[in-house]
């Protein structure tokens, strides 16, 4: 019987009721009394020197309160980058200022040059059109490999477009090079990890609200991590101390990374609301979000895999160009380095691994973390090159993987790229995959496809990811400018209900449902006695927010710690009430009892005693039942799995149809299987989208060619199949109290290579032996071109 309550139950999501009845409260649903509207004037060219900005016509237009330019932000800071990378020689990365409004130069199409604040949105739009920006256009820096050769500079003052040239681990390089010299076989693959646009369905919104009475500010924003926005914006940009700045992120309509970062518009509305002494609201249009939300991926990589005669991996060597875009977004620099290089060992035992990454400035939208962030890039190149090596050496692609797996009895396993995997069982997830994907029936299905004139192919791959990036002291040494702990306050009320105030912030993950499941299990009370409060710096402890599949592993652990403190104190109270020794008190099903007796007192009575302390050990115990905990993990968690995709390729048109997709994941323990499956589904759709459909494309002048849903192909319901997902293979994490690993990004990390492997397999089996690789997205035209090329 599946559980109907607590950890392991598929509890229905309580937040759904408001979302299904139109009662959600997203940032754009908030309208403050007297609010004015902001519309940005954005650069139409990718690169240019600003000669003059004439705001006089605009300022004279009806309803206009003020037209802002960079001069209005004199003395304010730029938007900071949250992670400083040091290059191969130990020098710090090049780090330009990212001003709120462009200073001197524009650096990408969409760069904010000026901003109109007016009474109504349409008045602001009208006036924005009347702002005259005179720009001397400069050559656009678009191609990364060209950018590092010299020529035009995105940031003149830096003297180079190369942000950093990073080696990981530099000490591994010589041994890795040596291993290639003696290898039996070397497979080399050059590939592109295509640039993506996150496209959370809710566009970004920010409302600044300055109160003259208290000289304080409130920012309402579409954010995954309101505390971090408060810290970054308050401390680094606007010099507002935290106690004068409240950041509220109400219901957030998806993020996928894109709402982690501190954006200039947030700082703008906060500052502008003081200048015009009115609330200032900015709502991003979708067209604008294509040009301003941080993009994802955009790596160009050469990977080499050295093997011995039996197909055992001897060494991996990579060289990657990673696009930073025009400015360094919050986590941009960490993505191609510590979120990517550390995963290059994959699920395999490879003695020597060396990763080189060149991060490059270009005249494009800043690039930052997008679902998976660095780990999809690592997985894709590794799992593609393994597939290619298997084909070249005549070894079955599943067999070559099994042969190289870190075996179940080899954990903890220290990789040559710094991280230590605590647990895993890659053979088990592969076995499970073979079962749920019915790989035994593939040949029969292939024959059916062939009768229709279609080429069927099978792609299989593995992935490993690292979630809950930590511990803070280690990431600090690696250049992180923030801690990576999480926090929770558990406040028990006098009649036994309780509230968890967490620094994590759901933007679709169902925290309001899953978090109470954990506490309900721990105390033995119904889930509906527990509420979650999140998304508001005024009533939650300082926390780092939700990204990197960290909320349950890190935020959940903080909540467990806080709840354990509550239980410990409650036991003291119960011991007093029952005149027993604290050590004899047991808590089960919401009842405290004295071991070996029939004496008991229930949860509610203990809570009441804590707040109405008439019969209470006041001399040794404070009244009240409220505890806060911060949790800083000692290691990452390492979810892993095996994925399989079957495709049909129409050789006449190049069209690829996903026939089936199966995912066998090991997430450790699972709190809500329904939500976990949903997370995998969503990740798969994004990964399949990357592999088949999505591409942010720039022309040589830096114009975004895929700037709307007319050209940026989003996965639709009829592009995708029902998925087969399984997470019954569970090797619990050894270092967090719940034994959980994180499931939010797995689907997006593991699925792209499966799709491309399947397409190549289909073409190979169909006799198109010359096709060994197609870059993503494997669109109809690219597949047709490959067949006919």
């Amino acid at each position: 019987m599946p559980k109907d309550h607590g950890i392991g139950a598929s509890s229905k999501r309580r937040e759904d009721v408001r979302f299904l009845t139109g009662k959600g409260r997203y940032t754009d649903d908030i309208n403050l009394r007297g609010q004015a509207h902001a519309v940005f004037v954005r650069s139409q060219v990718a690169h240019g020197k600003i000669r003059k900005i004439d705001t006089s016509d605009a300022e004279a237009m009806p309803g206009v309160l003020k037209v802002f330019t960079s001069a209005d932000f004199d003395g304010k800071g730029g938007v900071p980058c949250g992670w400083q990378i040091h290059d191969r020689a130990g020098n710090p990365m090049l780090e330009p200022k990212h001003p709120i409004l462009a200073e001197g130069k524009v650096r990408y199409v969409g760069d904010a040059v000026a901003c109109v604040v007016a009474e109504t949105l349409e008045q602001a739009r009208d006036a924005a059109e009347a702002v005259v920006v005179d720009i001397d256009e400069l050559p656009a820096v678009i191609d990364m490999k060209e950018a590092v050769k010299g020529g035009a500079l995105v940031h003149d003052e830096l003297g180079s477009n190369l942000c950093y040239d990073w080696g990981f681990i530099e000490d591994n390089k010589a041994a890795t090079d040596e291993a290639f010299k003696t290898a039996h076989h070397v497979t080399t693959l050059e590939l592109v990890n295509n640039r993506l646009i996150p496209n959370a369905m809710e566009p970004r919104v920010a409302i600044g609200d300055y109160s003259q009475a208290g000289d304080d500010y409130t920012l309402y924003t579409t954010s995954q991590n309101p505390h971090m926005i408060r810290l970054l914006m308050g401390a680094f940009v606007l010099s507002i101390p935290e106690h004068k700045l409240r950041v509220v992120a109400p219901d957030v309509g998806g993020g996928f990374g894109s709402k982690i970062f501190h954006y200039v518009e947030e700082a703008f509305v906060t500052h502008a609301s003081k200048v015009v002494n009115r609330p200032v609201k900015w709502t991003c249009s979708r067209s604008e979000s294509f040009l301003t939300d941080a993009h994802g991926r955009d790596h160009v990589t050469k990977i080499e895999l050295a093997l011995d005669k039996d197909g055992h991996f001897q060494a991996i060597r990579t060289e990657t160009y990673a696009n930073m875009g025009a400015y360094l977004s919050t986590f941009s620099t960490a993505v191609p380095t510590y979120l990517h290089g550390t995963l290059m060992a994959g699920n395999y035992k490879t003695p020597h691994v060396y990763v080189n990454v060149k991060a490059v400035f270009t005249n494009t939208v800043p690039v930052d973390a997008y679902r998976g962030a660095g780990r999809p890039e690592a997985t894709y190149q590794l799992e593609r090159v393994i597939d290619m090596a298997a084909r070249e050496m005549g070894i079955d692609p599943i067999e070559i993987r099994r042969r190289n797996f870190v075996q179940p009895d080899e954990f903890p396993y220290q990789t040559p790229v710094a991280v230590q995997y605590d647990t895993g069982n890659y053979q088990a997830t592969m076995d499970k995959l073979i079962e749920i994907a019915d790989l035994a029936g593939f040949e029969k299905r292939r024959a059916e496809s062939a009768k229709k004139g279609l080429l069927r192919g099978l792609g299989v791959n593995c992935y490993i990811e690292a979630c809950g990036i930590a511990p803070s002291n280690l990431v600090g040494q690696l250049g992180a400018r923030a801690g990576l702990y999480e926090s929770a306050t558990v406040r028990v009320n006098a009649t036994g209900g309780l509230v968890v105030m967490t620094g994590s912030h759901s933007h679709g993950q169902g925290h309001e449902t899953a978090f109470p499941q954990v506490i309900a299990e721990m105390i033995g009370i119904p889930e509906n006695m527990i509420e979650v409060v999140h998304g508001d710096t005024a009533n939650t402890p300082m926390g780092m927010g939700t990204y990197g599949s960290r909320s349950l592993a890190v935020g959940g652990s903080a909540m467990v710690k806080a709840t354990n403190k509550i239980i410990a104190k409650a036991k003291k109270i119960a011991a007093h009430l029952m005149e027993a020794s604290e050590g004899d008190i047991e808590l089960k099903d919401g009842k405290f009892s004295v071991a070996g007796t029939d004496k008991s007192v229930d949860w509610g009575a203990v809570c009441l005693a804590a707040y109405v302390p008439h019969n209470y050990p006041l001399e040794s115990l404070e009244p009240g039942l409220e505890e806060t905990a911060f949790y800083d993990p000692s290691n990452f968690t390492y979810p892993a799995g095996a994925y399989a995709c079957e495709v049909e390729v129409d050789p006449e048109t190049g069209k690829v149809t996903i026939c089936s997709f199966a995912a066998a994941d090991d997430f450790g323990n699972v709190v809500n299987p329904m939500i976990v499956s949903g997370q995998v589904h969503g990740g798969l759709a994004q990964g399949i989208g990357q592999a088949m459909l999505e591409a942010a494309a720039y022309d040589e002048n830096g114009q975004l060619l895929s700037g709307s849903y007319m050209d940026y192909a989003m996965p639709r319901a009829d592009d995708l199949p029902f998925y087969k997902v399984d997470h019954s293979c569970q090797t619990p994490c050894t270092h967090n109290p719940l034994g959980v690993k994180g499931c939010g990004e797995a689907g997006a990390i593991g699925s792209p290579p499966a799709v491309v492997n399947a397409v190549i397999d289909a073409l190979q089996r169909g006799g198109h032996k010359h096709v060994t690789h197609i870059d993503m997205p494997v669109s109809p035209s690219r597949v047709w071109q490959a067949i006919n090329g």
Binding site: E129, S287, E652, T653, A697, L705, D711, M714, S781
Partner: protein, 262 residues
């Protein structure tokens, strides 16, 4: 978007009058025009909605057997009501946009806009349909004048489109993956007098007749009849979603598929 006066006449006569005002613009279903207005790429002074004119809506059969569709008829209505008489046209209408778009978008609006990737122009051209306006009748061969350009005069309103129903006909569309407009679409229509083939989505000049295919199919209405033909890629669209050579390939593949399903 820029502001404008909005009027919604209930008769064609009132609509014609309203269209006589300076910078008046007709609004069919608005599924292309409204996004265009949002981008501030058009600035009409008056927008004349045609959605309230009953006499411009509906599907019927004319005395000559032609299928007549009112200019303000939404795609969803055509998909339903043309299904028995002209299934190929109904299927085409059922594949435009998505259900919500089909509930608003109209045949007159689509033809007046003449997007090079729209579906309807191929049906109109392949069937040699007649476009009826408030002032005249225009033959399909004279109507389409290239990218977003038609023979319509300013203020002229498409009131009806008359389709001679072919003995056999079909539309085969290859979707552009993002917009789901036709990356290339082929409409074939077989009449006693011969076969007509119209291609949309492929050419820089908008919808066109593939006369070589018409000739081959008039002699032998089978997909195999097209085997020997090649489609030059000159003048075909090249963009993110396909090169001219790819579209040239699709012209042939989609035409064959249309013939096979006709």
């Amino acid at each position: 978007m820029y502001n404008f006066d909005f009027v919604k006449p209930t008769s064609l006569a009132d609509a014609v009058k309203a269209m006589a005002q300076e910078d008046a613009q007709a609004l069919g279903g608005g599924q292309t025009l409204i996004p265009t207005l949002k981008q501030r790429l058009a600035s009409p002074a008056v927008l004349v909605s045609l959605s309230g004119i009953a006499e411009m809506k509906g599907v019927c059969v004319g005395d000559d057997g032609a299928l007549c569709i009112g200019g303000a008829t939404p795609h969803a209505t055509v998909a339903k009501e043309a299904a028995a008489k002209f299934p190929a046209l109904a299927a085409l209408a059922a594949g435009i946009g998505d259900p919500a778009v089909r509930n608003r978008g109209t045949i007159g609006g689509s033809l007046a806009n003449n997007d090079p990737s729209a579906c309807y122009p191929s049906a109109v051209l392949a069937t040699g349909a007649t476009i009826v306006t408030n002032t005249r009748k225009i033959a399909a061969d004279d109507f389409f004048e290239g990218l977003f350009t038609t023979a319509l005069e300013p203020g002229e309103i498409i009131t009806e489109v008359r389709f001679p129903v072919p003995e056999r006909g079909a539309y085969a569309k290859f979707q552009q993956p993002a917009s789901r407009f036709a990356l290339t679409g082929a409409f074939v229509a077989k009449y006693g007098s011969g076969v007509r083939v119209a291609i949309t989505g492929a050419s820089e000049n908008g919808v066109f007749r593939w006369t070589e295919a018409e000739k081959a199919l008039s002699a032998n209405f089978s997909a195999g009849a097209l085997d020997g033909l090649t489609v030059p890629s000159d003048g075909l669209i090249g963009d993110l979603h396909g090169t001219p050579a790819y579209r040239a390939n699709l012209v042939k593949v989609m035409t064959k598929r249309a013939v096979a399903s006709a």
